[in-house]
Symmetry: C3
Subunit: 414 residues, 3 copies
């Protein structure tokens, strides 16, 4: 028989710093089940933006592995999250990805819950049936300047408060909660979710693969360190960064880097980064895609406030739009990447913005990254694959992602 | 690593009466393999109707999991059943779902068996090759008033005789063996076979989900008990039932309920039930779908003789047609439901009946039930799912199905 | 729970000679993993023909299970083989099945290898990064008169030398290395690779299943032994064979049978066999499909030099073309069969040959065999399947394949 595969414990114990992970982390169904249980089951996940829930009764359902979570705005305009499962025989309550309801009614036998999750009606149940013990099971939910995070665990990590407190001043000026969704696109990558994250956490691959993105993007803003090869370029970038930060901070826009990626349970990184050329937005000409600017902005050239969270999201807040990415694992070798573009809620399509132009850069970039992730998934499945060395000059944030993952799994899965 | 799933033994031991089953019963590949081995491998299964085998040489192949069974009418007009596997190198003998043959010839090397399963020819075999030891392997088969049941076990449960003896008087007047198949439709439900059965065993969901079916169906005939909510309606139904039974029994049609669903190995339930409105047939106007009545019937308003068998069938025998349902598991999360409509063999399509009208109610109902089963399969896969309470007033037959299943598995799988 | 399946060790130990294999050999994922590790991982495999790599820089990628192997002709015109995996983060280097390159450049971060597999460039790596330790991992490769064999093991079986030495005189006169590929067709059979091989190793099934192939093929050349049923026909064939061999050997074409199928690690069989009717080629009229003959041949009626290798190929070298078959396992129940037709490199399509005519016999035959393999895969999955007896008169080479497989697995997998 084939050799017994190494245990997750052994794999975690022998992880080689500065190198890509061993193949079972990307391939094994057992590791994937552990990822779902410990990483996606016990950490804060980005799952939606508040503009998806504009009015009371609006709902969104999100799948985290086999778990379906229902986000709903209640009559007090609070965002609530529930397991999307009837307490009678377990039927999924809302099959659509989004919609609007008065109450939440199970399609099978019409058990009926209000927007606070309370069971308010169930036919044919006996006199001693206690409705109060059959309400929807709640899921932890927090909002951050329009971003919605959930945690499936009974006890959610409490350092979410620190992240909210520290990053809200950066994000709040863009007023995402006052936006509308201009476009949302799901793609499925035939690869492990960790390959999707690793791909996101470096720009070593950008120049050769992302012609549309690199119109506006300075690759040096994405985890580069000076090396003999690029010291001069990085110094120029640092000068630009310093000048930009001084200008933006003077406008009341916090801009300096905060990086807790591998130092906290709820790890994140944020920084306002200059954009190249017109310097306004991640578009094919680096100019704004939406004439109606966000919040109270009057200047367009605010660069991009980038925000990365462990384990599953990244975001770029610009003067004219916000683009958010949620990574949702499906199986060891399938990952959903959901991209959401938001513009000012009063912007008029065809007048203030054109959806094709707004989404052109990231639709192209996502497809390029999908291909890279898929080729990596195929490659690491080879018996000949062995972890290779990360570049210390360009892949530091990939290493931090791997560090975070390995630390969290060691803490929870052993 | 994720927690080890509970063993089947533990799951069976801790089953909570009056509640839906725990998730692994619907999701686990190991439980599904046990279901195939013990439930579908050791009990009597409904698989076809005799009109599918009108003449000697007619055959039908039926898949029970990975097992293919060949039903054939032999030259003495007996229905026989064999494993559909050549004794040479194991090739499937008949790939088609139905057809007609003189002998059964393997497509690979032309080993040839007669309709009694005897190997009558094999080329190139040595002088000492014993053909008599290489006949087709038989499968137990019994017919009941035109319904064909098989059992894959070496020793088939012998209480099939009691079921045949007790129910033949109910079914025989409809003379199913003298019918022809007017239509047969296979649908695949993305759900566990037990969810399909549980769906079949209650009508709590009918009013909200089955507008076509409830034209003719009194839901109270399907496992309802009086409760404060419906006591008056049930009393009215009981009065109707008593009057109908008196009328039908006077016509020589046994009608009273027999229910052994969770009391016998070969559990079943039967009862002749009144139909609403025109009271004749399960159609969109409750009138007969076929002008040529079955058997020797002269009256059309004979209600519906319903017949349910554990673990995989239900049937409605009406004055003008018989509709039969066979549930055939494919995998833990895929189930084939085969629906067969039979009419008098002399009925003429387009004159006596219209196939679209004949099949309208159950094609619509099956599709509605498919959706409910699929939403339940998705729902119970959530980590948040826990077994919920059955209504004692409307889900008694679901509970009996679960009781039967748990009892049988405890008896066989431990 | 279902009975624990027998271990591979137990299955190998109890294999019954003269009978087909037990079902887990065709169905079990664990056995398939062992097949990949021990059979396909430690033996010489036929994977391509030299005409696929005509010029330096030409490459072909071949999948052996999850392993992708890159074949490339280097600047010295040697055929080399590498694991198709970047040494950085494991990305597949060449996604296409074939192409031409100057160097081998990873699409992700542009790590660049020359055609000898040496890493010649990697951006952003530190001063102490040792490129010489990050070259492509080589795979053993040998060529035999234009056929390319690889071995994935660290230590490849050394009796490949004997096979090359003994068979080169048979194959060389056809000068395959001077051919071009006229057609290549991949089909996927929904069956285990061993069923594909067993199907190839007997012609008991030919008469009833292969009307196109049997135009030119004498079935008696494919492992038949005299029996009471066919003694006369075989004697006539032997006379034809002796006369043909005398004629061909006088022309300098070795023709007599060599059979080491179950006697060596690198087992093979070869023999030049007469063809029926026009006697020239495996076509619909047994005449050559290409007017431009191979090598220096002036006569067309040279029969077919057949060459079978364990575990995954067979070939027919004729006067006008060579047809080669590679069997590449995908999963326990999926197998890729790649068929390659080669003609003289100076032959002109539409003038000297017509692709449809050239490929007609084997495209039809492959499809017929695919169906037989698939019906066998379905059949052996039945619980009722048990290994049946091989015909000693027609299935001797099937038995030799099974013997070889069981011997090799016993030697390596225990």
């Amino acid at each position: 028989m084939p050799t017994t595969p190494p245990s997750l414990q052994a794999l975690l114990a022998r992880r080689r710093p500065g190198h890509s992970l061993e193949a079972p982390f990307y391939l094994s169904d057992a590791v994937f089940a552990a990822d779902l249980e410990h990483v996606f089951g016990r950490h804060w996940l980005f799952v939606a933006v508040e503009p998806q829930l504009a009015e009371p009764g609006d709902y969104v359902s999100v799948d985290i592995g086999r778990n379906s979570v229902l986000l709903v705005r209640d009559d007090d305009r609070q965002v609530r999250a529930f397991h999307n499962v009837c307490r009678h025989r377990g039927t999924r309550l809302c099959a659509a990805q989004h919609g609007a309801v008065g109450n939440i009614v199970c399609p099978y036998h019409q058990w009926t819950y209000d927007l606070a999750g309370t069971l308010i009606h169930a036919d044919h149940m006996p006199a001693d049936f206690d409705r109060s013990r059959h309400g929807l099971k709640p899921v932890h939910v927090r909002t951050l300047a329009g971003l919605i995070f959930i945690c499936l665990a009974d006890d959610a990590p409490d350092d979410i408060d620190a992240m909210l407190r520290e990053t809200a001043p950066y994000l709040a000026p863009h007023r995402l909660a006052d936006c509308k969704v201009a476009a949302q696109v799901d793609i499925i990558e035939k690869g492990n979710w960790k390959l999707t994250l690793e791909n996101n956490r470096e720009c070593y691959h950008c120049v050769a693969n992302h012609p549309e993105l690199t119109v506006s993007l300075y690759e040096y803003g994405f985890g580069y360190r000076p090396s003999p090869q690029n010291a001069e370029g990085i110094q120029r970038f640092k000068d630009t960064l310093a000048a930009s930060h001084a200008r933006w901070e003077a406008m009341g826009l916090p801009s300096r880097e905060i990086d807790t990626l591998d130092q906290r349970v709820t790890g994140f990184r944020t920084q306002r980064l200059p954009l190249d050329r017109a310097g306004e937005s991640q578009t094919l000409n680096a100019q704004v895609a939406c004439k109606k600017l966000l919040g109270g902005f009057t200047a367009a050239a605010l660069g991009g406030l980038s925000f990365w969270t462990q384990p599953n999201s990244w975001h770029h807040f610009m003067s004219d739009h916000v683009v958010s990415f949620a990574v949702l694992p499906i199986s060891a070798d399938r990952t959903l990447v959901r991209t959401t573009w938001c513009v000012h809620k009063d912007a008029v399509e065809g007048v203030d913005y054109d959806v094709k132009n707004l989404t052109a850069v990231w639709n192209a970039t996502n497809d390029q990254d999908r291909r890279l992730v898929e080729e990596s998934q195929i490659g690491v499945a080879n018996a000949a694959y062995e972890p290779g060395p990360y570049s210390p000059y360009t892949e530091e944030l990939v290493e931090k992602f791997c560090n975070w993952y390995v630390q969290r799994m060691r803490a929870l899965a052993l």
